[in-house]
Structures are given as structure tokens and as C-alpha cells.
Amino acid sequence: MDRRLALPAFAGAALVIALAASAPWLKFVFTIALAKGLAVTGILLLLRAGQVSFGHALYIAVGAYTVAFTRPHVGEMLLLLPLAAAAGTIVGLAVGLFVARYRDIFFGMLNLAFSMVFYSLLEKLYEYTKGTDGIRVARPTIAGMALERVDYEWTMLIGGIALALALGWLASRFLASPLGQALPAIKTRETRLEFAGISAKRVLLVAYVISAALAGLGGGIIACTTLHVTPLLSYWTHSGELVFIAILGGGGSVLGPYLGAIVYELVRVYAAAAFPDGWQMILGAVLLLIILFAARGLWGIYEDLVLRKGRRA
């Protein structure tokens, strides 16, 4: 792995663990952030192709509800999470076959439409989903062990970090592969890609399904962490949140999503603590500042300040 990524990745993981050890409530916040980071990694893949999905909360909700529905029958997290990812993959493939034909605003809005259809279904199929009250998820066992709350939270956090590191590494390998390299080509000029004999639709479909699987997995982790799922997970504001995090973190690196997600959750928590009535304003201001002064996101700032200067010296 690239040393310029490995170093901050492991330093960041250590920092997260250290903070979580000193402030126990942060374990939960960080686990949720890492789960969202997984989904945002998927958004990042699509962003490489110049496509913004305003509906990826769909796959988070699919993953989360897969866990909620299968939990009464399956008590093992090591089965539940792959199931969540698989459900995300399947739905992602079905929707992807359709949306991969579209670009730009059409791509974004179609994704939004699918996620809102799913949201309505979760709300309307009240008999099965308990509507907006949501479904309680009993705490699953991990590798056959029924853990107490604190141990469970630690396992979730460490597991989340491990998954983030592993999948982040895989995502960076994917982006370096020929298929991954074809993604920016969709953004710059799709026709050239087709002339080179590569199907742009298929490239985008692969990226889309991967992103859906990542979001499904993230949703599974969210369900196993909050232990209560509600339809709000697939609401458009949550899709917007993922795009927000992607912009905040920056698209330049696979670490951006995790950096963005953790900073987002912390900003939100502290803004909500300091200004219970106006925390949305703080979040909005942060996003505006990032867009205006650091278009490449937090990762871009890090690159400018640390990596570039380091190289020049």
C-alpha cells in the first residue's frame, strides 16, 4: 500500500481508538461514522466517474432492514453483515442495470427516486416494517460469543476500523486497476472510452454495484450498532448526508470518506451540543467553507499542508 496513505490511515485508526478509550460515548459515534464512511467510499467511486448519487441511503436502509428482518432467525453478526452486503449487491444490481444508462442529473435524480420509493414502502408496509416506529434488533452474537454492552461496542468499533482499512485498501487497488482507471474516463470523455473498446455502461455498473454493496454493509453495521432501524435511514436527507460527507472528506483519496464521516459526526455532535436550536446552520456553514475555500475537501487540505510541503522540502 502506498506509504502516503498507510501512515495516516494507521495513525488515524490509532487516534480513533485512543479517543474512544478516553471518551466511551465516542465508540458509538465513531462506529456509525465508519459505517457511513463505507457507504461514502461507494459514493467516491461514482464521483470518480463524475456521477453523484442522491439515493445511496437506499442501500444503507436495505442493509439495515436485512439485518432487522433476518435477526430473529440468524443470531450471528458474521452472517448478518455478509447478508446485508449481499442484499445491497442484489438491489444494487437490479437498480444499477437501470440507472447505469443515465448520467449526471438524471443519474442523481433516479437514484433519489428509488430511495424514496423504498422509504415509502418501509412506511406503508406497516404490518411488516412497523412503519416509522421501526424494528428493534436484538444484539447479535459475534463469532458465537454473546458480548456485554461495553465489549460489544468495542468489538463493533475495532471491527469497523478493520473493515474500513481492508475495504479502503481494496478500493484503492480497484481505483488503480484498469477498470478503476476507466471511471475518470467516463467523467472526461465517455466516447473515447467506447472507442477503446470498453463499455462505459458496464464500467459504471460495476462501480455502482460495488458502491451498493459497501453501503449495504454500512447499513448492516448501523443496524447492529444502533440496534433499532427506522425508515428514516433511506430518507433523502440521509442520502444528502452521504454526498455532504464525500465533499467534506474530499474525493482525492480513499481515506477522504472516513475522514469526512468522522469529522461530520463530530461537528454535528458538538454543534448540536453547543447550539441545540441551530446546529444545521453550523453544518451548512462548514460545507460552504469547504466548497468555497477547499474544493478538494479535508483530504485536499491535508495534502496541501503535509504531503506537498514534505515533498518539496
Binding site: 478516553s22 415509502s120 416509522t132 444502533t226 433499532h228 427506522t230 435511514l233 463530530l266
Partner: protein, 440 residues
Amino acid sequence: MPKLTRRAALQTAVASTVALPTLLPREAIGQQRPSELKIGISTFLSGPASVFGVPGRNAADLLIDQFNRAGGIGGVPIRSIVIDEAPGVDFLLGECRRLVQNEGVDVMLASISSGSCLAVAPLAEQLRMPTILWDCGTQRIFEEASYRYCVRTQANAVPEIVAPLLYVAKVKPDFRTLAVLNQDYAWGRDSWAIWKAAMDAVKPGVRVVAELFPRFGATDFSTEITRLLALRPDVIFSTSWGGELDTFIRQAAERRLFERSTFVLPLAESSLERVGKTLPEGVIVGGRGDHWFLHPTAKDTQILKDFTAAYRQRFNLYPIYPTFHMAQALYGLKAGYEKAMAANGGAWPSREQLMDTMRGLQFAHLTGTMTIREDGQGLEPMLIGMTKHVNEYPFPVIDRMVMFPPELTMNPVGTKGLDWVRLLTPASVQRAPAEIPYRA
């Protein structure tokens, strides 16, 4: 050199911001009398349900000020920390953990949304956090699980729906057709399920001519109103609230729907001041419990008069039911602490002592007294009445009030509300107490 300083400065900046939480942690200590009693309150500060959340928070601010001027609870001043439950369960549960593990909150007053309460209650249990469910309505909480650290200082959806049903069966015994228009989300569906099951038991043979569930957050009801005008149901039942109820009332009034059908609006007390006299006379309204700022038995008590005056002076609005629910939670908490302290020889009670005392506690609040049952569920009467226009107020007041006692409307411990309402009989209607007329 500049390279080093800049990097160092950056790292320090990042580290210090992120490390902020670690500078603050405080662990709650039991038994010792704390220097202040910290209450975490989750409520809606944004989104449509802030029509309830903000009045609830305002009531908490006002009452906590009043309590503190009178020496707090057992000499300990109260401080509240308010969190917004609007962003969803994943955020709310993180915030609850922060309040408990970082801010060292002593008690939580949880949530307006039933979904939030269903998620918070198990967490409260794990964290051993005394929690009062202050406004959420679902009956599922204490029916599907039992909690040691959670109690509810108000009734739940079952009496909130059964009472208006008994009321309409009493004042309009000959109704034969009914239509429902509820918001399409859990409360709208749940309340209709309870109403339907109870109505089939209390008034068998009533025909349901329309079940309308416009989407949550709808701003136009013209299609629904057209259908209701055509169907002419004897009774129109709607548990909608907030902006949707206001809009529905205005649009229905515009098209004279009120002249054709009797409306039953169990949550409309909270909309009265906003819709004003657009809402005609003769509409059956309720306010989710035993409270109203002109409560028939409490309206002349100094405590309610003072509260209404202070609330109006500070927020320029009349108190509505979430304000009273918040008051019930705070008065209940105060009574619980005081009783537990008395039993403890004046020493500050542990969390477990507090929660054990809360069960079976009888306490007085702004408009009456209520009890908390052994399963944690609160028992309060239900005030239902009919709107009336008077000159003293620019909005309808409630006339012909009936206070349905909990014995008549609430299922006993260990039963499921939805099953229990099927056991009601037409005779239940006759057992309703007498009407109390509005008096200025």
C-alpha cells in the same frame, strides 16, 4: 523550520479539537447529593414535530427556572441539556450516550417520537439511566418489554383513542358511517387500528366508508375533502396534528365539510390557537390527557393560573398538551426524588431507589394528580370535549368536557391494548362520567 511549525501547528489544532471530549468526561456518582441535577431532554427542535418539541422545551425551561427559585429538587438545583431528536435514531442514540457518559446526566426525559422512545428505552436499560418517557404515545413500549429504568408520566395511545370513541358514542349515539383521515406513518396507522378495533366492540355495525392516509407532510387535502363531501360520513376521525391538521381544518372549513359530518380530532387541542375560529363549534377535540389551560377542575387553582400567565408572558402563546406533558414529567420526577429521599432518611437516592419509587408513585401536577403503574405506565384521565366559540378567546374553547378515568379507557397490566379494546362493550359508553360545561 517553517515546515515543522506549520505541521506542528496543524497537528495541535486537529488534536485539540478532536480531543475536546476527553477533557470533559465526568462520571455520574450515585448516593452522594450532587451539586446540580442534570436532566437530558430529547425533543424535536427542528422538523414538523417541532410544533410539539419547542413548546415542550419551553415548558421545561420555565418550570426548571421555577423549581430552582424554590430550591430545586431536595435543595439541588436543576440544569437541563436539550438535544434534537429530528436527525434520526442513529444520531439520537449517540447523543444519549454523550449525555450519559460525558455530561454525566442524572435523568433523561426522552422523546416525542415513538420510534425514538422504542430505541432509547433499551439503551437506558443498558446504561442504567433513569429515563422518563415524557411524550411518546406508542403502547408497545411497556407491552412488549419490561424496563427497570424507564417510566412514562402520561397515558398512551390506547386511552387517547378509546376516550374520544366513547365520547362520540355518547354524544352522537346514532352514527352509522365513519371515515378516517390519518397521516401515513406509525401513529396514524396505530391510532386507526385501535379506533377500528374498539369501535367494532363498542358500536358494532358502523360502516367505514373511507380510509384515507395522505402522505406524512401533505399540504393539500382537496382530493380527500372532495371524497369526504361525496361520501357524507356521519363521523370523520383524524388523529393528524401540527401543520397537516391546521391545513386540513382550514381546507375542510373552506369547503363546509364541518357542516356535513361530525369531526373527532383527538389531538386538536394543540392546534386550537393556530387555527382560531376557523374551527367551528361542535367538533370533538382532545389533548392526549388530563390537561388544558382551562382545565375544568384546575382552572381556578393558583398553580395553573400562574403557569399559564408565566408561559404566556414568556412565549406569547397559550400552553398546549406537550407543555403539560413536560410539566407532568418534571413534577413526577420531583415527587419521585422527594419520596425516595424521604424513604432514604433524607439522603440522595441511588438510581435504583429513584426508579423503584417512581413505580406506584402518585403525584400532583399542574392540572391534577396521576399515578404511575407498577409496569412504569402512567395513568391519567382523558379530557375530551366539544369546541365552542366564546368572546374571551380568539380561538375555540372546549365545552361539554368529559374526563374519562383510566379504569374505563386503559388496558390492565399484562394485556395488549389492541386485544383489550376488543373486549369493550356498548355498555362502556354508559359508564362515562357526566359532562362538565365550559364556564368563563
